[in-house]
């Protein structure tokens, strides 16, 4: 019964999300929705790496950048169709993530975090300086509008649908993954690495798996960003960007996929709402982060849980 209800709610939410553009005609808000979808893909995959497997990666923007550069180069220089470049972007990000995690499998905890930070910076600096390959600081401009079979994706609304498809693909596959045997292994590693290894879980293998899968989705998001923005530059893939993703994951709630989306929405909407207060924007965002986290260490998820438990108390009293 409970499960049936969940499935019905899920189908309703999916249907609503596809109907949304018929209610919201404003291009400004559609643009924000597109950003929310893209960051959701990035943060869901980062939550798999950080929230479920406890590998704090502060270099996620690099994999996002790898996806973006792959698509940009394939589309502008080799005139690839969009679908194969999207897939290749994901796969190349996965492959590089695999190489990085396999070489650093000995390195643990904060030292791993350092390596991801450094990797992100190396990626950005190489893209900035290797002018022949990546266009240097200017980047690559003039990406053609992507075409999926006969669907030419050009307007804000088209991109919304493309983003939505990618987003639901990410959300569904990741929810299935974290509920499977793999997901339980990831959680075991997060809770206690040593205990997990004594229970016969191959810690190194599962860490590599989690990291590479997460990078795959980051590559997809990068590909989406490249065609949506029609131009990419190294300044979009900085350390600040990686930090922003981590903030969104933590603000939503570590280790919960649905909560991650709320973190993304809060951060992006706060950025938009505070835009008129340009000079104090970062200050206000920082204040929100500190106050929410000090009060509710498990983020927005923690607030929801608190409300839920309060409601429960109230209903008990009624009985």
């Amino acid at each position: 019964m409970e499960k049936n209800r969940k499935i019905i709610v899920f189908i309703l939410v999916v249907a609503l999300s596809f109907l949304l553009p018929s209610f919201v005609k404003n291009y400004y808000w559609l643009g924000i929705f597109n950003l929310i979808l893209m960051y959701s893909i990035l943060c869901l995959s980062l939550n798999l790496i950080f929230g479920f497997t406890n590998l704090l990666s502060v270099g996620h923007a690099a994999f996002y950048g790898i996806g973006a550069y792959t698509t940009a180069i394939l589309l502008t220089r080799y005139h690839f169709p969009f679908l194969p470049s999207l897939l290749l972007s994901g796969l190349i990000a996965l492959f590089i993530g695999f190489l990085l995690s396999i070489t650093t499998s000995r390195v643990r905890g904060d030292y791993f975090t350092v390596i991801t930070i450094v990797f992100g910076e190396i990626f950005r600096l190489i893209m900035q300086n290797w002018v022949k390959f990546s266009g240097g600081a200017v980047g690559i401009v003039g990406l053609p509008a992507p075409q999926l079979f006969s669907w030419r994706i050009i307007s804000e609304k088209d991109f919304y649908f493309l983003g939505l498809v990618l987003f639901w693909f990410t959300y569904l596959t990741l929810s299935l993954l974290v509920k499977s045997k793999f997901g339980r292994a990831f959680i075991a590693i997060r809770e206690d690495e040593l205990a997990a290894s004594t229970m016969g879980i191959n810690v190194v293998m599962y860490k590599i798996l989690s990291f590479s899968i997460g990078c795959f989705y980051a590559g997809l998001a990068g590909s989406y960003y490249a065609v949506y923005n029609t131009a990419i530059a190294p300044s979009s893939f900085t350390l600040d960007e990686s930090c922003l993703m981590i903030i969104m994951v933590v603000l939503g709630g570590i280790g919960n996929l649905t909560a991650t989306i709320s973190g993304v929405i809060v951060m992006l909407v706060a950025t938009e709402v505070f835009r008129p207060l340009y000079h104090y924007r970062l200050l206000l965002i920082g204040l929100i982060m500190v106050i929410v986290l000090v009060r509710y260490p498990y983020g927005i998820l923690g607030i929801f849980n608190k409300i839920a438990s309060m409601r429960k108390k109230y209903s008990y009293r009624k009985v």
């Binding site: 300086n129 970062l282 200050l283 000090v294």
Partner: protein, 291 residues
């Protein structure tokens, strides 16, 4: 030429060391990556700059005031944003609230002093000194001297003073040392105070030897401190010193002999290789994991 570059690199490394030590001390005691460290010392350096240029204060006096401001800010931040999240299960979360604090400090100093690069006056009047035919700016020697005094003093303080011993105890085991009667909250505040103060010295020295001061110094300082302490082995003060000196040397040697554009790429690559060979840094201790 080589010796000049060597000395410039060493003094650059010495400045990095001052920034990294505060960072590494906090890490040693709380296992917290303090993302706000860089912005705190940048704030302190801006205070010093303001006192020097606007109020024409004596350099030594203004450095001391700036140090106190930096230290006090660091410990206030600790009380408001990190103390509630000190439990081990909130470790990753306190790092993000540190990032939030970094945003707040950065934005505040941006509103006070704008984002542009300011020129910082040189504190010392004699610009160059020549020893054995090698021309070296005086600031470089002064920097090296200050670093030796600070690091030596800090080591003595930790070894012989009561508070220093308490800091060492707390960095080994917080619950056990609180059972032994060490006031944990006060000790941690002192660590932040010291870290902030030493960081401000580093910031002021950096600004006065390169005559520039900007807000972006804060975040890049955090990264430099992070790299240096990882090079040496996070949590140990002497490790941070060694790591910072190596980093400074690498920066100046690679920048001069190979390429300035790829300077950071090459240092980062060296850092990764060091970590692959010695996953706990150069002076890092290997601690057996207890169950």
């Amino acid at each position: 030429m080589f010796i000049e570059i060597l000395i410039v690199g060493l003094s650059l490394g010495a400045i990095y060391a001052l920034i990294a030590i505060g960072y590494s001390m906090v890490y040693g005691i709380l296992k917290l990556m303090n993302f706000a460290h860089g912005d705190t010392y940048a704030f302190g350096s801006f205070i010093c700059w303001m006192l020097l240029t606007k109020y024409d204060l004596n350099p030594i006096l203004s450095i001391i005031i700036a140090m106190i401001v930096g230290g006090v800010i660091a410990s206030i931040v600790e009380i408001l944003a990190y103390r509630p999240l000190r439990a081990p299960e909130y470790r990753n979360i306190s790092m993000i609230s540190a990032l939030g604090v970094a945003y707040i400090i950065q934005n505040t100093s941006e509103n006070f002093w704008s984002r542009q690069v300011h020129s910082f006056p040189s504190i010392i009047s004699a610009p160059f000194v020549s020893i054995l035919g090698i021309q070296i700016p005086t600031t470089q020697y002064l920097t090296l001297g200050i670093v030796i005094v600070v690091v030596g003093g800090l080591n003595l303080f930790l070894k012989y003073h009561k508070v220093g011993k308490a800091i060492l105890c707390a960095s080994q085991d917080i619950p056990a040392s609180s059972l032994m009667g060490i006031p944990i909250n006060r000790t941690i505040s002192i660590v932040y105070l010291l870290g902030g103060m030493i960081g401000v010295i580093g910031g002021v020295l950096y600004a006065s030897s390169y005559n520039v001061l900007s807000i972006s110094m804060g975040f890049s300082g955090t990264i430099v401190a992070f790299e240096a302490s990882v090079f040496g082995g996070i949590g140990s003060i002497n490790g941070a010193l060694v790591g910072a000196l190596i980093l400074g040397l690498l920066h100046s040697l690679v920048g001069f002999y190979i390429s300035t554009a790829y300077r950071d790429v090459i240092t980062f690559a060296v850092l990764i290789i060091v970590l692959l060979v010695r996953p706990k840094g150069i002076l890092g201790r290997y601690v057996e994991e207890k169950v």
